[in-house]
């Protein structure tokens, strides 16, 4: 009986030793060769496809390409390549939630990248939170961001709150008025969708506080085909300043109508889309002086190299608001993973909240989960959409807009 037991123990020990000898080897091999699985669901079809394709999808692709060209992400001892699983959410929140759940449960991804747009991000946020997936959002603008990051501590935003964008442009206006460059009369239009409504509401408040005279305040439904009536209306009031909180097709439409009708306020601000390469392609030298949300200062070597890589991979230059932010957010994720040294998502989330990251756009730090020091107002100056607010290193001084030239 005793000898029996001994023998059994001996076998067990031997087996255990063999296991012990084999397991670490298997683990080590897994770490160096098994790719990190990254999944995302984004709008490739439907009404959001245009937005998603402008900055987010190209930068997801560029980052994955850059990481894999460099051999992968350094986790522990070795480097692990990145493998991507991509779904189309068809611009439908319920489809996005389903796709994210499939990525987590079936595809067993290690990390998720966020979808495009505020509504979509909010729709999938609970699923991200359930699995402690770090969620660094490049395209979610809302005034409720400070509350949201309290509820979902895995959430980080690369954009500021909605009101900070309109507050910033009103601050620029105040400064230009003080310098005698512009007057006080404001014509404002907005699209009746979440982004337009929030920015216009915030602008109304800060315009009043800064004692600007709001002589036209109108809104239009999304998918409006012709912006000429809005521009004609604004033109009749003869304002010093035109503010348009618009979406890309309307941004182009407003600019086109203003140019055709010779509507020449000293300050012309249009919404999402002013930073697109398409905007510069369409309007050329006429972009000079146009303001919009976002901006950047691509003077650094890192950003110049980034823009060149972007152009080489996607065939067009980066958009000049969200692009570099989106890319640097992904770099922050990578550096947080490398810092933690293993796929430990809660620890990575914690690191994201505390560390300062070295990115193409310079040092990146989340201040209470919201990117500190992001550009809020940009202005086309000499073919580049430079950041002019907030006042920080690299900010250009705002100029009054010259009159439109004949195309």
């Amino acid at each position: 009986m005793n000898s029996h037991q001994h023998r059994r123990d001996f076998v067990r020990v031997l087996g255990g030793a063999a296991l012990a000898a084999s397991v670490p080897a298997a683990l080590v091999r897994a770490q160096t060769s098994d790719p990190i699985r990254i999944g995302y669901a984004i709008s490739k079809t439907g009404p959001f496809a245009g937005g998603a394709a402008s900055a987010q999808i190209p930068n997801y692709k560029l980052w994955v390409d850059d990481v894999n060209k460099a051999g992968g992400i350094a986790v522990g001892a070795g480097k692990r390549r990145v493998e991507v699983i991509e779904y189309d959410d068809r611009s439908q929140p319920e489809e996005a939630v389903r796709a994210i759940e499939r990525l987590v449960n079936q595809d067993k991804v290690d990390f998720l990248l966020p979808p495009w747009g505020t509504g979509m991000n909010l729709a999938v946020a609970p699923t991200f939170h359930k699995g402690n997936f770090p969620m660094i959002m490049p395209s979610c603008i809302t005034d409720r961001m400070p509350e949201l990051v309290k509820r979902w501590d895995n959430m980080f935003s690369l954009l500021a709150t909605a009101s900070s964008y309109s507050d910033a442009v009103v601050a620029v206006m105040s400064q230009m008025r003080a310098e005698g460059k512009i007057g006080s009369k404001v014509a404002m239009v907005n699209v009746t969708d979440q982004f337009g409504l929030e920015l216009a509401a915030a602008a109304r408040k800060s315009l009043k506080a800064a004692k600007f005279e709001l002589i036209l305040d109108s809104s239009y439904p999304i998918t409006s085909q012709d912006m000429t009536p809005l521009i004609a209306d604004a033109q009749r009031t003869n304002p010093d300043i035109f503010l348009g909180f618009s979406y890309p097709p309307d941004t182009l439409g407003l600019t086109e109508s203003a140019r055709v009708r010779g509507f020449n306020p000293k300050l012309f601000y249009a919404g999402v889309g002013t930073a697109l390469p398409l905007y510069a392609q369409k309007f050329g030298a006429n972009t000079e002086g146009v303001m919009g949300p976002g901006g950047w200062n691509p003077d650094s070597e890192a950003l110049k190299a980034y823009a060149a890589r972007h152009t080489a991979l996607t065939g067009q230059p980066p958009e000049q608001w969200v692009s570099a932010l989106c890319y640097s957010g992904l770099q922050a994720l990578q550096q947080a993973i490398e810092k933690v040294g293993k796929i430990d998502r809660p620890a990575i989330v914690k690191t994201l909240g505390s560390m300062t990251f070295d990115t193409v756009a310079g040092p990146l730090k989340f201040d209470n989960h919201i990117l500190a020091g992001g550009w809020t107002v940009g202005q086309w100056q000499g073919g580049t959409f430079f950041g002019i607010a907030p006042k920080q290193k690299g900010a250009k001084a705002p100029v009054a807009k010259p009159a439109w030239k004949a195309a």
């Binding site: 079809t45 009404p47 496809a49 000429t228 195309a407």
Partner: protein, 291 residues
């Protein structure tokens, strides 16, 4: 001044709507194919014009010479291969309508998928004839005025074609009663194919002209299908005077509401008019009562 502005903007917007709707009216009204891929076809033509203009510098007006016959051939081929079996199989007009909705719904995704694969989901836009033109003291873009003029000319020619020519009579006969048309020696298949092909040619014209002034993407087709469908149903299916009239009415109501009430209510005004027409004249403003 304000009145003239609203009038001119309304007419040009309505002209665009009419232009977009004419082809669908022919396809649905005569060939009896309710083409849900209509908007995608429009975007395809717009993309064709954009590529020719931005890459080879071909003026969109010149590209019409290539794109329109190409679209007509594609339409004829499509009708022959994809819709003729449905027509042959259909026991009634309603059955054909149902079948054509299903098959063109599929076609929508095929066309959209091909465009997405080739051009991506990005917004696209270029400027052509975007020069100011003075009309009655107000300024509009020449390309929008051109869309209005082309819509009016095409609408009138289609009206004349249908009412004054032999083939027009055949087209109307097929539209009214495809079962009895063969009794007077009309080749229904050929006439329906002709109507569908001309409809496709018209959507190409619309796509090219619309591309001159609007920002579009590969996934935006459904917006145009919706607008065209509303115009066609409002004007009376198969009626071209009604189609142009309904489109101008929608354009004018949008611009007057925008100018005198609130630009935020344009869409509501559009749908209110559509609803009123549906309630009081279910077969359209110019439609025959009870089909």
């Amino acid at each position: 001044m304000r009145l003239i502005d609203a009038l001119i903007f309304g007419l040009t917007l309505g002209g665009t709507y009419a232009l977009v709707a004419l082809g669908l009216n022919l396809q649905y009204g005569v060939a009896r194919i309710l083409n849900l891929a209509y908007g995608e076809m429009l975007i395809a033509a717009a993309l064709g014009a954009l590529v020719l203009f931005t890459r080879s510098g071909v003026s969109p007006l010149v590209s019409l010479i290539v794109l329109v016959p190409l679209a007509a051939c594609a339409g004829a081929l499509l009708y022959r291969t994809a819709f003729l079996p449905l027509v042959r199989r259909a026991r009634s007009r309603d059955a054909l309508e149902g079948d054509s909705i299903l098959s063109t719904f599929g076609l929508l995704f095929v066309v959209q998928g091909v465009m997405l694969a080739m051009f991506g989901g990005n917004y696209m836009s270029y400027s052509y004839l975007s020069v100011p033109v003075e009309v009655l003291g107000t300024t509009i873009a020449a390309n929008r005025l051109l869309a209005l003029v082309v819509a009016l000319v095409l609408g009138a020619s289609l009206f004349l074609l249908l009412t004054r020519t032999r083939i027009g009579t055949a087209l109307r006969a097929v539209a009214v009663d495809p079962a009895s048309a063969p009794l007077v020696a009309i080749d229904v298949t050929k006439i329906a194919m002709f109507a569908f092909a001309i409809g496709t040619a018209l959507v190409a014209v619309a796509g090219v002209l619309v591309s001159m002034f609007s920002t579009f993407s590969a996934t935006m087709g459904v917006l145009f299908t919706m607008k065209a469908l509303i115009v066609v149903i409002m004007g009376g299916v198969g009626n071209f005077v009604g189609c142009v009239f309904a489109a101008l009415l929608l354009g004018l109501s949008e611009s007057f509401v925008a100018t005198y009430v609130d630009p935020g209510l344009t869409l509501a005004a559009n749908y209110a008019i559509f609803l009123l027409v549906l309630v009081f004249r279910p077969s359209g403003l110019f439609g025959r009562t009870g089909r």
